[in-house]
């Protein structure tokens, strides 16, 4: 009699889904995925030196691109500021503002070059030895944002 009643309640009783096994699976999956999740994304800045084969063919390249004037932009990163050199431009020395480099001023100067030579995409960065790597990366970022994606570094 008692057993019969039990069966009856099971058939007509609560229609809840059995959530507990799913919860168990989730409880195991969530910590596992939390461990493997990477919250910091890595990126790279590409920088290439001219390889030997490229430099030998570069004279041919230059001959074919003679229409395009070669604009050599140089940006020296000194301990107390930036020194930007570009043909036909004379930029004043961009001094540090307190302890920080004056990136805004650098960017406006870079934009001026870009306006004058829209085709030029090269920038040679010359940091001094004491400059921090972080600052070099920041300068590279600013150059790229201002339209000079071909960055080379000269020691």
């Amino acid at each position: 009699m008692n057993l019969k009643a039990k069966i009856k309640t099971r058939q007509t009783g609560s229609e809840d889904l059995q959530m507990t096994p799913i919860m168990n699976v989730f409880l195991i999956l969530v910590p596992f995925l939390l461990l493997t999740a990477s919250f910091i994304k890595l990126a790279v800045l590409e920088m290439s030196l001219p390889s030997l084969s490229q430099s030998s063919s570069s004279s041919v390249m230059q001959a074919s691109e003679e229409k395009k004037p070669l604009v050599l932009n140089m940006l020296a990163v000194r301990q107390n500021g930036f020194e930007l050199k570009s043909p036909t431009f004379t930029f004043p020395f961009i001094e540090k503002k307190g302890l920080q480099y004056d990136f805004e001023q650098l960017q406006t100067s870079l934009r001026q070059i870009k306006d004058k030579f829209p085709d030029s995409e090269d920038m040679v960065i010359q940091p001094e030895d004491v400059i921090k790597y972080d600052d070099v990366i920041k300068v590279m970022d600013r150059c790229r944002d201002s339209g000079f994606p071909n960055i080379s570094i000269s020691g």
């Binding site: 309640t9 790279v44 030196l49 390889s51 990366i137 790229r144």
Partner: protein, 170 residues
């Protein structure tokens, strides 16, 4: 459902239709909803290739606005103390300051070894092989003098394609 009814007698009169034992059900639905959302989010950010860099106090990469994804290549790490190649410490930064040579000799040897190895692999299978790519992971406080020497050494051995690893800025 807990049976909190004080007059049990009236219940027992009705008979066996009521539950034989008091049961406590947890309502798991809301928790399950939360977990489902969390799970979807975590699965989305799951990457099968694993992490390239192990975070230590010694090596904090600089931040950059670059969006280029990293490629797998031999890794040169310049930490606050050591110059490392593929997780092996090679030279102390202190020692580098004393010698005036631009080339870092131990690094050159390791790079040449790595190049010879990948060139041999390239002979077996053309899909892999030496392509002159190297990852440089520099600590943000490293001085450019060290980075410059690392770059010079890479260039001399033939690793012309250098990838400077950075953290993506938000």
């Amino acid at each position: 459902m807990l049976n909190l009814n004080p007059n049990k007698k009236s219940l027992s009169i009705i008979g066996n239709r009521s539950r034989p034992k008091p049961r406590a059900d947890l309502s798991l639905t809301s928790l399950l909803d939360m977990f489902t959302i969390l799970l979807v989010f975590l699965l989305k950010s799951f990457s099968a290739d694993g992490q390239m860099v192990t975070n230590t106090d010694d090596l904090t990469l600089p931040e950059s606005t670059s969006l280029k994804p990293p490629r797998s290549a031999p890794i040169i790490a310049v930490t606050k103390e050591w110059v490392m190649f593929d997780d092996r410490p090679l030279v102390k930064i202190e020692e580098l300051k004393t010698d005036g040579d631009l080339m870092i000799r131990p690094l050159q040897a390791s790079l040449q070894q790595s190049r010879a190895f990948s060139e041999q692999l390239g002979q077996i299978d053309t899909r892999v092989g030496f392509n002159g790519t190297v990852d440089i992971m520099g600590d943000r406080d490293a001085s450019f003098a060290v980075i410059k020497r690392v770059m010079y050494t890479c260039g001399q051995v033939g690793f012309n394609n250098m990838l400077l690893a950075v953290y993506q800025k938000e």
